[in-house]
Amino acid sequence: MLTVIISGLAIGMLYAATALVYNVMYSTSKVLSVTTGHIAMLGGVFGAWFVTTLHLPWGLGLLGGIAVGAAFGWFTEVLAIRRVLNRGDDHLWLLSTLALATMVQQGVALWWGTEPKPFPRLFAQDFNSGVLDQKFWLPISIAVLMALGLELFYRRTMYGKLFMAMSEDAFAARARGVSTDRIRLMSYVLSGALGGLAGFAAGQLTFAYFALGLTLTLNGFIALAVGGLGSNVGALIGGAALGLLNAFASYWFGGEYQQTIAVGLLMVVLLVKPEGLFGSQKVRPV
């Protein structure tokens, strides 16, 4: 039973980390990027490539994974977000990020192969350590650290306050002299780095697998919608709830209905409390 809880919590925290990445991008651009899960996938795949194939020490592999994620975040903003937001059609970003996500996923499939490959172990640890295994506590602690770090960043630093200002009202922030384009680019690089970190930390749980991106995009979004768009605490709670629900559902009913149950949770929350558990109820602009 404890194993079920811990493994559910671990995968749930990966979803939570993906939801945090969504939040960082959403705060400055009001865009929910389809590429979010693919950032974490890149972190995992490139981490495995750096450590297993290139035989780098895992610290360098981690830095490499983060760098790849950050570069991809930068690339996303420059290629798929900037022009589209300038054009002002509110649906186009969905198309452009979807296109980019497909390209990345298929590119990785062509280069890395379509089979999940094992992720190297980072610390020397016995394989029989059960619930204390590093593949469980790594994603959990990383997600919690990410949430705490983001909270500190938003409250204590000047750039964090600029992010907050942009998320409140980008137009007013621009009028007060904030370079909104640069802040948006920064937020994408930051979210890319965080996504790469999350994907690297959870690599042993998920394996280095090209199709992970789409699953994470969907489940991270469900965690985000359940917890409330824009709320970091909500992302953690939503991720944990989703992970635990999935784990218990596969414990009781078998693993075939995971996606159905996850979407069921999303539907129930959206019907009962459309803004999510911790979301702010905004007035709908007309």
Partner: protein, 337 residues
């Protein structure tokens, strides 16, 4: 909507020419494989012309129609294959089932804003695949099911092609009827400005739901034809990327027209089959194409042709020669003098 209104005089001619080409295709198609390809295009078009109303006209970005296609295909394969129903009856039931599932999917999800809707439909496609795998004794699980063929004279490739082309024409006619009347204007109003549409009395949710259910029916019918055409279906046939393919066909062709997505379907279906290196790149190519179109011509390739034609067509020059009215001038001078 009348994007090609300059063809108005030649419209009838183009239509007749197209009909002759479609009808005579089995005679000039080089081999059986090209006929199969043409039938596949027709089957895809049955789904896409329904989906075009949802994406192109109403602006609801559904990326999960492969789930409805899969439902239609499995319903047809189970009913006509396992239970031995008549294929025509199974085809009708598959369409109805697609419509019902479209209703079940549309009822909660069409209330959601853009990204939420897209994610819900995507999740629907994943759920359908999951259920197909889970219900192994009904659907054959990962092994799949044989797709039954239609009785004679529709069992030959030529016969099946005519069936598919006929269905495609029927669906095109239905959707064309819808978009050229006030319904189509209502749909486009919802796409361009939902608040304004509501203000002038378009029942937002009901119209969206109706169009979505229609697209569900066409997807179910297309699924049944697809199962029969491919002769064997597995869950791997209905990957999420197929959904993306439908989506790209419409976006590339241009939103808010019928001929554009049709050309998109023909080109995108035929191109990877005829140009071998593209087949290896597979879905990467679709992603790239979508990105280029969205960044460069978000209105779709149809718009490019329109612009080119506008540039090429000589503009009617305005001749307004000014003739001096000499007698009047003479009179005026005389009066002054």
């Amino acid at each position: 909507m009348t994007n090609f209104s300059f063809l108005l005089g030649r419209n009838q001619l183009a239509l007749a020419l197209g009909a002759i080409m479609v009808a005579s295709l089995p005679w000039w198609a080089g081999n059986q494989y090209q006929l199969h390809l043409a039938a596949l295009i027709c089957v895809y078009w049955i789904l896409i012309s329904g989906l075009n109303l949802v994406i192109g006209y109403t602006g609801q970005l559904s990326i999960g129609h492969v789930g409805l296609l899969s439902i239609g295909a499995y319903a047809f394969a189970i009913l006509a294959g396992k239970m031995g129903w008549h294929p025509a009856l199974a085809l009708v039931v598959a369409g109805a089932l697609g419509g019902i599932c479209g209703l079940a999917l549309g009822l909660p999800s069409l209330r959601l804003p853009g990204f939420y809707f897209a994610m819900t439909t995507m999740a629907f496609a994943l759920i359908v695949n999951e259920l197909v795998l889970a219900q192994g004794n009904l659907t054959g699980g990962g092994i799949g099911l044989p797709g039954p063929i239609f009785p004679a004279p529709l069992d030959s490739p030529k016969g099946f092609y005519y069936l598919a082309a006929g269905m495609a024409l029927l669906v095109t006619w239905l959707s064309w009827n819808l978009v050229r009347r006030i319904w189509g204007l209502g749909l486009m109003a919802i796409r361009d400005n939902p608040v304004a549409a509501q203000a002038v009395g378009v029942p937002l949710f009901r119209v969206k739901l109706m169009v979505f259910v229609f697209s569900g029916i066409t997807a179910g019918v297309a699924g049944a034809m697809f199962a029969s055409l491919q002769s064997y279906i597995t869950p791997d046939t209905f990957v999420f990327e197929l959904s993306l393919f439908f989506f790209v066909c419409i976006v590339i062709g241009g939103r808010g027209s019928i001929i554009g997505p049709f050309l998109g379907t023909v080109i995108l279906t035929a191109m990877p089959e005829l140009v071998a290196p593209l087949a290896k790149l597979g879905h990467f190519f679709y992603g790239l194409l979508l990105l280029v179109v969205v960044l460069v011509v978000p209105e779709g390739l149809g718009r490019v042709f329109e612009l080119l034609l506008e540039r090429l067509r000589p503009r009617p020059e305005q001749h307004q020669a000014i003739e001096p009215d000499l007698p009047r001038l003479a009179r005026a001078i005389k009066e002054q003098g």
